[in-house]
């Protein structure tokens, strides 16, 4: 019944083939035009496992200003020049940078009024000193405590470095504000860079490098903007004198470099692939009509992109990249139909004999991609839909359109080749098993054992950095930067997310109190250490006022007056302390006049999408991450971002995801093949190329020092889909003794796939290279197994036993 439907449709199209051709052409042209309106999405979340924690971490790293900053590291090339020359260069560059691409330049700490700013901050002590610290202060306000303080102050006034500390001691005779200063010091140290400040500029410890931190509105995922930004910066850096080196450290560089590498790779691979295909065309086909074989998958992919875009709304760039792979798979259908038409006696008979194995092959390949629907990765669903649609369209065109436009009867190289080498290629007897068959099977078994032994060395690499195809100069510049400026690994981040700053600071304080006990105050860098919530500050002020006004102020004045005279202190020696006792008791949202606070806030607070995120930093080590994770569980709206944990999560998620999908694909292939072939033994034979290809991938990859990763696992699944096609065709040929040039068609299919994937071995981008290595090793051995091993197995196992 299905045959009837098939050939009714075939006949209808044959009768109105030119109308069909015109309609097809119109659809293709419309699809090509429609490409301009396709929305592409480079959101990496689309390709990540559906894990909320992973999405959140990636989104945070992308959206936080931790990633978008650009750093310029200037260095002295010659010891003849000094830090002052370096600073002069910094000033020159700083003046040359400005909007719209650079919105702010931070080259150091402003030289002027640092002392005044510090003293201003200490005036906020009434808001910052909490109850425990007030109790400590109370313990000092007694004769022995004041005597000891005055003695220390006296000594410090006489030491060589007294000039700068006098204002501080006068403002804080008891040293009660030292906690504020200690907290400030810790926060400065948490920046992560080892900087000193000279003349107000960030200078490295070796005094040979200076750093500028630039703010830019260009998001690092914006390829076009990144290119403009880098070009602008390089242009500006040209004004530097010869004795100054300059390195740009920015995620934007990676964006641009990856784009350049991929473009170069695509150009190179297209040239090589085009050349190879043209040669193949000239040497093997020598028929203009054969061009249609290569146009069909291209047209199918273009139409599929448009349909996918209509239904899915947005397509990931990765999916489009996979389009080339799909085209490589789908061209096989056209090759099989073309070969059958050329070799076979009549057009209809040729199509009739080839249709069933072709459809079975396509269905099994579709089943591989259908397994992606079981994935939690949104991008894989897109891949599944797009791939299945492309394959269906390609198959339909190959079966229903291509046959009507291949002209039979004319001399063609293909048939001539087949006839000339008939005995060796296509006409070899399949009837009697030979010793050679046993040898072939034995060799195959040995290969499988060796491959499985070698596969024990296979490893899975989930590091995100392996997908970075940036040029080596960029990596080297970053290594140099780290050796000069970085004192420790990137910290983990604890994020409090609320609708307002006040709400976020309240939660942040609670987190800080708990973190101090589990992680240690020295290991947890938080804004709460120097600027609590308004509510807390108001409570502190009330407490402070009550404390001093209930007699403590008077008592302290008397004690200082009494014991101060022993050290010759003047009556107003510590008047700044008493004058400022109630200075900043009106609680503002933040100390706007203090630039130090502004800079710190930029580090600890992010405003995104009408929400405030307050960050705290701690060492990215398992014990601390675990401890803070436990704390986070008690506070909804808080989360952790740990690069180490993210990497592990991604690895676990991706590998378990792919293993699941591979398993599903393997089961679906096996079941479908069995269902369609209706014979267990034939199914087993058809699976030989699949097993061989898989063994080849996992055995050969480690030999070349490569490891599996997510793209190569997806490519391995594509290998399954290709190899099962070879298996099905060879099993059909063996069982039905088809005279449709199957071996030639399978060979041509394998060659075209190997060309398409093989060119990726010339690619510099690690992802493309990884995909190429996987497909080449899998398809090559899968093909060899289909051509050589299946017939031998067939003769030994099926023919011999019947």
């Amino acid at each position: 019944m299905l045959d009837d439907h098939f050939f009714r449709l075939y006949g209808n199209i044959q009768r109105s083939k030119w109308l069909v051709a015109v309609l097809t052409a119109v659809v293709i042209i419309a699809a090509v035009i429609g490409l301009k309106s396709v929305c592409f999405d480079n959101n990496i979340e689309l390709m990540l496992p559906g894990n909320d924690e992973v999405y959140r971490s990636i989104r945070f790293l992308r959206e936080s200003n931790l990633s978008d900053k650009v750093i310029l590291s200037l260095g002295l090339k010659s010891s003849e020049y000094t830090t002052k020359d370096l600073i002069a260069a910094v000033k020159k560059i700083e003046e040359s940078l400005g909007p719209p691409l650079v919105t702010d330049v931070i080259s150091g700490i402003p030289e002027n009024n640092v002392v005044e700013e510090m003293l201003e901050l200490l005036k906020y002590a009434p808001q910052l000193i909490d109850e425990p610290n007030l109790l400590l202060i109370e313990k000092q306000i007694n004769p022995s405590g004041v005597k000891e303080s005055l003695q220390n102050n006296y000594r410090q006034f006489l030491t060589p470095a007294s000039t700068l500390i006098i204002p501080f001691i006068r403002s804080d005779p008891l040293g009660i504000y030292s906690n504020i200063l200690r907290s400030l010091q810790k926060i400065y140290s948490s920046v992560g860079y080892e900087v000193t400040v000279e003349n107000g500029y960030f200078i490295s410890k070796d005094r040979k490098h200076a750093m500028l931190i630039l703010d830019t509105p260009i998001n690092l995922t914006d390829g076009f903007g990144s290119r403009k930004l880098i070009s602008y910066l390089n242009n500006r850096l040209n004004i530097l004198p010869d004795f100054i080196s300059a390195d740009i450290i920015a995620g934007h560089l990676h964006t641009v470099s990856n784009e350049d590498v991929i473009k170069r790779d695509i150009r190179l691979t297209l040239i090589i692939a085009s050349t190879a295909f043209i040669l193949l065309f000239i040497v093997v086909f020598r028929d203009l009509g054969a061009i249609i074989i290569f146009l069909i998958p291209l047209a199918s992919v273009i139409v599929s992109i448009n349909i996918s875009n209509l239904i899915l709304n947005k397509l990931s760039y990765f999916i489009i990249g996979m389009g080339a792979v799909i085209a490589g798979i789908a061209v096989d259908y056209g090759i099989h139909v073309y070969t059958a038409l050329r070799i076979g006696d009549s057009r209809q008979e040729a199509v009739k004999s080839i249709a069933k194995p072709l459809i079975i092959g396509a269905l099994t390949t579709i089943s591989v991609f259908a397994s992606f629907f079981f994935s939690s990765v949104q991008g894989y669903h897109q891949l599944a839909f797009f791939s299945i649609l492309s394959i269906i369209l390609c198959l339909a065109c190959s079966l229903f359109i291509l046959p009507h436009f291949i002209i039979k009867g004319k001399y063609n190289k293909l048939a001539h080749t087949v006839k000339k080498y008939g005995k060796q290629i296509n006409q070899r007897s399949l009837k009697e098993p030979k010793t050679q068959d046993k040898l072939i099977v034995l060799c195959w078994a040995i290969f499988m054992i060796i491959a499985l032994i070698l596969s024990k060395q296979i490893s899975f690499n989930s590091e995100i950095s392996q997908f970075d195809g940036s040029e080596i100069e960029i990596i080297k510049a970053e290594q140099k930067f780290n050796s000069v400026w970085v004192n420790k690994t990137s910290p983990a981040v604890f994020v409090v997310q609320e609708n307002s700053l006040e709400e976020a600071l309240k939660v942040n304080e609670k987190i800080y109190r708990e973190a101090k006990t589990v992680v240690g105050e020295d290991n947890f860098s938080s804004l709460a250490a120097i600027w609590p919530s308004k509510q807390t500050r108001e409570a502190n002020v009330d407490r402070w006022k009550k404390f001093w006004k209930q007699g403590k102020e008077e008592k302290l004045r008397k004690l200082i007056s009494t014991y101060g005279s022993d050290y010759n202190f003047s009556e107003d020696a510590f008047s700044p302390f008493f004058d400022n006792l109630y200075a900043c008791t009106i609680v503002e949202d933040e100390p706007k006049r203090i630039k130090i606070y502004k800079r710190l806030k930029e580090r600890f607070v992010i405003a995104k999408n009408n929400r405030l995120q307050v960050m705290s930093f701690f060492p990215d080590e398992d014990k601390y991450v675990n401890a803070m994770s436990t704390i986070s569980c008690h506070y909804p709206g808080t989360f952790l971002v740990s690069r180490k944990v993210l990497s592990r999560m991604l690895s676990k998620s991706v590998s378990s995801e792919i293993i699941l999908l591979s398993g599903i694909a393997a089961i679906m292939i096996s079941l479908l093949t069995c269902l369609l072939l209706k014979n267990i033994k034939m199914t087993a034979l058809a699976l030989i190329p699949v097993i061989t290809g898989t063994a080849a991938v996992i055995g050969i990859i480690p030999i070349f020092g490569l490891s599996l990763n997510a793209p190569s696992l997806i490519a391995a699944m594509v290998v399954l889909g290709l190899c099962i096609d070879y298996g099905i065709f060879m099993v059909y040929t063996c069982s039905r003794n088809l005279k449709t040039g199957t071996r030639m068609a399978v060979s041509l299919s394998a060659i075209t796939t190997l060309i398409g994937a093989g060119v990726l071995l010339f690619a510099n981008h690690p992802v493309l290279f990884s995909i190429g290595a996987t497909i080449v090793s899998g398809v090559l051995f899968g093909y060899i197994a289909s051509i050589i091993v299946i017939p031998s197995f067939y003769r030994l196992w099926i023919e011999n036993t019947t």
């Binding site: 000094t82 006296y154 000594r155 006034f157 700068l164 030292s178 200063l181 400030l184 010091q185």
Partner: protein, 224 residues
């Protein structure tokens, strides 16, 4: 706690102080008047011959925090390239010794020795190198951060006025240095602060290039 406070303040505040001296030696400075350059060059030549220094000092501090002038007596030791010691004997016992990267200080109140790594405390490093540079006589390099006026030629007396836009300029009004008659070393340094505080440091019994006792580099009580 207060000693810690001092360190913290210095850590936070001192980075804003200019680093005055470079270690690259005497340079020609284009914008210097020839006579000033000649004087500075001559003084630097003389002080560059000094390998060791041992001197008593009398320091008079007029600080607004005190009712009266405070007079300190002590000793300074210097041995190029890396050893520097400042010992106060009266009115309190205090010692600060710098050996390369390490600063040690002791006082009679706490009776504890505190050690600080200068490379890990760049603020301290800047402050101490400033002090050492004054005593080591690297005056030519100071011309970038100070305007220098010759007050007298015999004995040489120079006035250093910090330039605007330097943090020293926010704190110090001027530094006047009076040299010995033989111009081999400093006789007096007078620091006038913008806050009206002032310090007069007078060197007495200065001995140049004499062997220094090992005890000079120990932080310990000195005999009064």
């Amino acid at each position: 706690m207060q000693k810690t406070a001092l360190l913290l303040i210095l850590f936070l505040v001192m980075p804003a102080i200019d680093r005055y001296a470079e270690t690259s030696g005497i340079k020609t400075h284009k914008n210097l008047a020839p006579d000033l350059y000649e004087v500075l060059h001559r003084l630097e030549d003389n002080t560059s011959e000094i390998r060791t220094l041992k001197t008593e000092f009398v320091q008079e501090k007029e600080l607004a925090v005190f009712k009266e002038k405070i007079i300190l007596n002590g000793m300074i030791f210097l041995q190029k390239p890396e050893l520097f010691a400042w010992h106060i004997i009266e009115p309190l016992s205090y010692s600060m010794v710098i050996k390369g990267d390490t600063l040690s200080q002791w006082d009679e109140n706490t009776k504890k020795t505190q050690k600080i790594s200068l490379s890990k405390n760049p603020a301290f490093q800047v402050a101490i190198s400033q002090m050492k540079d004054w005593f080591s006589g690297k005056y030519t390099s100071m011309t970038e951060d100070y305007d220098i006026i010759i007050l007298k030629r015999k004995p040489v007396s120079l006035k250093f006025i910090p330039r605007k836009n330097t943090t020293a300029g926010n704190v110090i009004d001027s530094v006047t240095v009076i040299f010995r008659d033989d111009e081999r070393y400093i006789h007096q340094i007078y620091i006038k602060e913008k806050s009206s505080n002032s310090t007069l440091l007078t060197f007495v019994n200065t001995q140049l290039n004499t062997p220094l006792e090992a005890a000079a580099w120990e932080v310990q009580p000195r005999v009064r």
